[in-house]
């Protein structure tokens, strides 16, 4: 068109026409570029950009669900919630510009009376654990701060105040080891199937029953979708969708608060590290369980101070967070003798009324083992041996079961040396020494000698390499007492909704069955009853005046380099026990001195009866 120079007259020459044509061509190309680009954005990628636009305008606010409460078996509240306003920083929504981000964090620090350095350190630390998750800078912020932030939202992009639920422990330190703490889910945990559907910043149980029954307690977070403008302000009428949070179920434990209280008091009353378990001897319900030293579970609802960290984590000896009832590792001393009795009877190494001479010393391979206190009881049968806690009698049984592994086999069947399967994380199996174990170590050069008769003799009286905890002993005693049903201990009883309707019963099946003849059981229980409540029994001085018939055994284990480990395991009421209590103290000395009195306090509480003092008389000291 431009080139119709005949129509343009003399003004249009060819050179100009060429230039105009090139100009027009350039315009054509530029417009083509714009059109293609427009087509690409709107027609080809339109869907993506629409999604991005929606992503821009829609803010989803998670509304956390209240976590279920934890109750004792009578419905008393052990753990509940309290709401708290948490100041959170969402790193994804902070200004991208470094200087502006710094300035905002500094303003935020000034508001919360924290230095910028501290704010940044907190953020860095939290972000290392869970990148891009909202970082909680402060819990329990005051309302004035919330109002200020709301009014100045445009100056604090990425800062949110979230209503969170914080655990509250109305009973103080009671049963602290059972509950465990609740904390923000970590990036690593989010990948686990049990945490499916959670988002960074959500709280999950990190330990104890909070962890074990997290799925029941957690509930489901709700969400509110709101349309916001570019400054994050909700637009009028922009509430799009509300999904109500579903509160978590309440967890009812088998714990009996008053028994727990008595047990905790009995334990801490001694001022020694130790643990106790009170368990239903028939079905494995844990009625009380405690470990000393203990801690205040509320410390975990706030960021820990350095002092608290030191106190809770840095002391390997006291280690207050360890639940010694399920993770202790102690030799048991004479408390082991009922187990040895079962093994000897079952393997035919002895019969219930076979007399064995106890002349006060037992010699094996040139080494002489003696009764405690150098006593000699003469020719005695099993019931008497249990009453007086004759070591020589049990050395003989241990020797008779060597070689062979009858003792280990039966100890294991009764629950010693392996996890009981209690519904608490952190349980330790302990150690039941066997020939294979020691011989393996010997082959690897980790010990100076292979398995020998001496090891078996030592194990027969709960000495040597044996390492177990009160829960395993309680299970073993309960199995003997109930005629062979190995209970699976558990602290969870049922999950209920807020109205108390049962959502789920927690009644795990027995872990197994072992054959225990009625005669063996009667003999062993009679021996234990005598030991506790007939004159001359090892704990007669403690239980002699207790009106409820019981069957209990002391234990005093050598645990070099420490002082002796004190044990007491007791079944009540005799002869058909319903409860078993196992107590141990580190460095507690004789079982009858520290552990037995603690067990008595627990049983007194359980039966509501107290013991009359008796003259200990001529009681043997095992």
């Amino acid at each position: 068109m431009y080139l119709r120079s005949d129509e343009r007259g003399p003004r249009m020459n060819n050179r100009l026409a060429l230039r105009i044509a090139a100009f027009g061509g350039l315009a054509l190309v530029l417009f083509a570029v714009l059109f293609v680009r427009l087509w690409f954005l709107q027609v080809i990628s339109g869907e993506e950009y629409l999604a991005e636009a929606n992503n821009n305008r829609i803010r989803e606010f998670r509304v956390s669900a209240p976590r279920g409460e934890i109750l004792d078996r009578d419905g008393n509240v052990l753990v509940q919630n309290r709401t708290s306003l948490a100041l959170q920083v969402n790193p994804r929504k902070l200004p991208a510009n470094t200087a502006r981000r710094r300035a905002e964090l500094a303003r935020l620090g000034a508001l919360t009376h924290t230095s910028l350095r501290r704010v940044r350190r907190t953020m860095r630390k939290r972000l290392m654990l869970a990148p891009s998750a909202p970082v909680t800078l402060r819990r329990d912020v005051g309302h004035y701060l919330v109002y200020y932030l709301q009014e100045n939202q445009d100056r604090f992009p990425g800062v949110e105040v979230r209503r969170v639920f914080v655990r509250d422990y109305p009973q103080g330190t009671l049963a602290a080891h059972l509950f465990g703490n609740v904390g923000e889910v970590s990036e690593e945990q989010l990948k686990a199937p049990r945490h499916r559907g959670l988002e960074p910043g959500d709280a999950v149980g990190q330990d104890g029953v909070e962890y074990q029954y997290d799925g029941d307690l957690r509930g489901r977070a709700g969400a509110t979708r709101i349309q916001v403008d570019s400054l994050g302000r909700p637009t009028p009428g922009g509430r799009l969708k509300v999904l109500k949070p579903a509160p978590g179920g309440n967890l009812r434990l088998t714990i009996d608060s008053s028994l727990q209280e008595a047990g905790d008091a009995a334990l801490s009353g001694q001022g020694l590290p130790g643990a106790y378990v009170a368990m239903n001897a028939r079905n494995g319900e844990i009625l009380a369980m405690g470990s000393n030293p203990s801690f205040d579970p509320t410390v975990f609802t706030r960021p820990l101070t350095q002092g608290q960290v030191d106190e809770l984590y840095r002391d390997p000896v006291l280690s207050p967070l360890t639940n010694r009832a399920i993770a202790g590792a102690y030799p048991t001393g004479s408390s082991f003798k009922p187990i040895t009795s079962v093994a000897a009877l079952a393997s035919g190494a002895a019969t219930v009324d076979e007399p064995i001479l106890d002349d006060g010393a037992f010699t094996l391979g040139g080494i002489t083992f003696q009764n405690a206190g150098g006593a000699a009881y003469g020719t005695i049968a099993m019931q008497t041996a249990l009453r007086v806690s004759s070591d020589v009698f049990y050395y003989t049984l241990g020797d008779r079961m060597y070689p062979g592994t009858a003792l280990q086999t039966w100890a294991r069947r009764l629950g010693i040396g392996s996890e009981t399967g209690i519904d608490l994380p952190g349980e330790q199996p302990g150690l039941l020494p066997t020939p294979a174990w020691r011989n393996d170590l010997y082959r690897e050069g980790l010990t100076d000698r292979p398995w020998s008769a001496g090891d078996n003799v030592n194990l027969a009286v709960g000495q040597g390499d044996l390492q177990t905890d009160p829960l395993q002993m309680a299970v073993a005693y309960a199995t003997i007492a109930n005629g062979g049903k190995v209970p699976r201990p558990h602290v969870g009883m049922q999950v209920e909704d807020a109205a108390g309707r049962v959502l789920r019963e927690i009644a795990p099946a027995a872990a197994g069955r072992v054959r225990i003849d009625r005669g063996w059981r009667e003999t062993i229980l009679a021996g234990l009853h005598d030991a506790a409540q007939s004159p001359g029994g090892t704990s007669y001085g403690v239980f002699g005046g207790f009106p409820v018939p019981v069957a209990g055994k002391t234990g005093t284990a050598e645990r070099p380099p420490h002082a002796d480990q004190s044990w007491y395991v007791v079944l009540a009421p005799y002869p058909n026990p319903e409860i078993v209590v196992a107590v141990t103290f580190e460095q507690g000395g004789f079982g009858s001195d520290t552990a037995a009195p603690a067990a008595l306090r627990i049983l007194s509480e359980h039966f509501g009866k107290s013991a009359k003092p008796v003259e200990a008389g001529e009681g043997a000291v095992e």
Binding site: R11, F31, L34, E52, A53, A96
Partner: protein, 398 residues
């Protein structure tokens, strides 16, 4: 080169009694040019009335009303200029050029500061931005200077001289600072020289120099610690080269504009638009008005607007070829380049393929100075068209 006929062309006396339309000069005007310009301006008022309802509390039509007034004034101004023989401007070239430079300079003294830049005077009814009208003035004056020397050809000295004529006001605008408008000045200068017959080698040298300058300003100077551009300017100019890094505000703006346009898809989101309604796209009534169109009216609306611009620029280029004299050719070339450059850079910036330079979209972006100046420029184009038609009357039937 070709001779000027500035004074030669005079319409012949009408023999028959002229109709009203003829008296108004309507048959001699370019209808398509008029139509596209008025349609774009009207659409601008419509879009502003739809999208800026909540921008000024209490007066929902604040921007639309004002834009409508500017468009009305612009149309009147366009018509008046249509009736003026543009060749007069060649005689006034020195005065025009002086006025151009002085008016831009006065901004430094009397102008008010808006967003860190001193660009406009505050007049009783609206603020006047001399650099907007300056684009047209530069085309008028520079074309005159080029024509003056046309007979003597385009030696290197002349090329440099014309270049200097253009770069002086461009530099003044740059110092306001208004990088975008100074680039428009540069484009006009180049276009006038190009149409005026500057040698290809010179043009190539100028292009190379421009590239070298850009490199120095954007890369070398910041590297050695003597930045020429303000931080935000440099950020804007370079951020589109690495999109998605989301490192700066410039990138944010551009990204939001892109999302707005993309989310409009084929048919647009209408009142359900969110990007441009909820403030995600900044400057939605001025620099990013094309994003509003893209989101609200989709590919259909945006393509229609682009087509109107294409029509506008095609008609402008056609007028370049129609002009009765070389002065008209050069002026029309300068105006066509001004329109093309602004449309491409602004729309390209909305689409995320050009840097953010703050260049308004002619006739669409809210702003009295820009709307008025663009209509006046179109008035000059119409004048060239009318003079050409009158001088050729009887020879062609359009």
């Amino acid at each position: 080169m070709y001779a000027t006929r500035a004074r030669q062309a005079r319409p012949e006396a009408f023999t028959a009694r002229p109709s009203i339309a003829e008296r108004l000069g309507l048959p001699y005007m370019d209808g398509a040019l008029m139509l596209s310009a008025v349609a774009l301006a009207a659409f601008s008022v419509f879009v502003l009335s739809q999208t800026t309802v909540h921008d000024v509390p209490g007066s929902p039509n604040y921007f639309a009303d004002r834009q409508a007034i500017y468009v009305g004034l612009g149309v009147v101004g366009m018509y008046l200029l249509t009736r003026v023989d543009y060749s007069r401007f060649r005689e006034l070239r020195v005065g025009i050029y002086t006025f151009l430079c002085v008016s831009i300079s006065l901004v430094f003294v009397f102008g008010f500061v808006a967003r860190g830049s001193r660009r406009a005077f505050d007049l009783p009814f609206f603020s006047f931005q001399p650099s907007e009208l300056g684009k047209l003035l530069l085309a008028l004056a520079l074309a005159g200077f080029v024509i003056d020397g046309a007979r003597r050809g385009f030696d290197r000295r002349r090329t440099l001289r014309y270049l200097a004529f253009g770069l002086v006001p461009a530099a003044l605008v740059f110092l306001q600072p208004d990088l975008g408008t100074s680039l428009v000045f540069g484009a006009i200068t180049l276009a006038v020289m190009y149409v005026g017959g500057a040698r290809w080698t010179h043009l190539a040298a100028i292009g190379a120099a421009a590239v070298a300058l850009a490199t120095v300003v954007l890369v070398v100077a910041p590297a050695v610690g003597t930045p020429v551009l303000k931080g935000y300017q440099e950020e804007r100019l370079t951020s589109f080269l690495h999109p998605g890094e989301d490192s700066s505000d410039a990138d944010y703006q551009q990204n939001q504009a892109k999302i707005a346009i993309g989310s409009g898809q084929k048919t647009g989101r209408g009142d359900r638009a969110t990007q441009t309604r909820l403030d995600f796209v900044p400057e939605r009534h001025t620099d990013f008005i094309f994003a509003v169109i893209g989101e609200r009216y989709g590919f259909g609306g945006a393509a229609l607007v682009l087509s109107l611009y294409a029509l506008l620029i095609w008609r402008a280029l056609r007028i370049v070829t129609l002009s009765k004299n070389s002065y008209g050719t050069l002026v029309a070339g300068g105006i066509a380049a001004m329109l093309l450059f602004q449309v491409f850079v602004n729309v390209g910036m909305n689409l995320g393929i050009m840097p953010i330079t703050g260049i308004p979209l002619p006739l669409m972006s809210y702003g009295g100075s820009s709307v008025l100046a663009t209509f006046l420029a179109i008035g000059v184009l119409q004048s060239i068209h009318m003079q050409a038609r009158l001088s050729q009357k009887g020879r062609f039937a359009w």
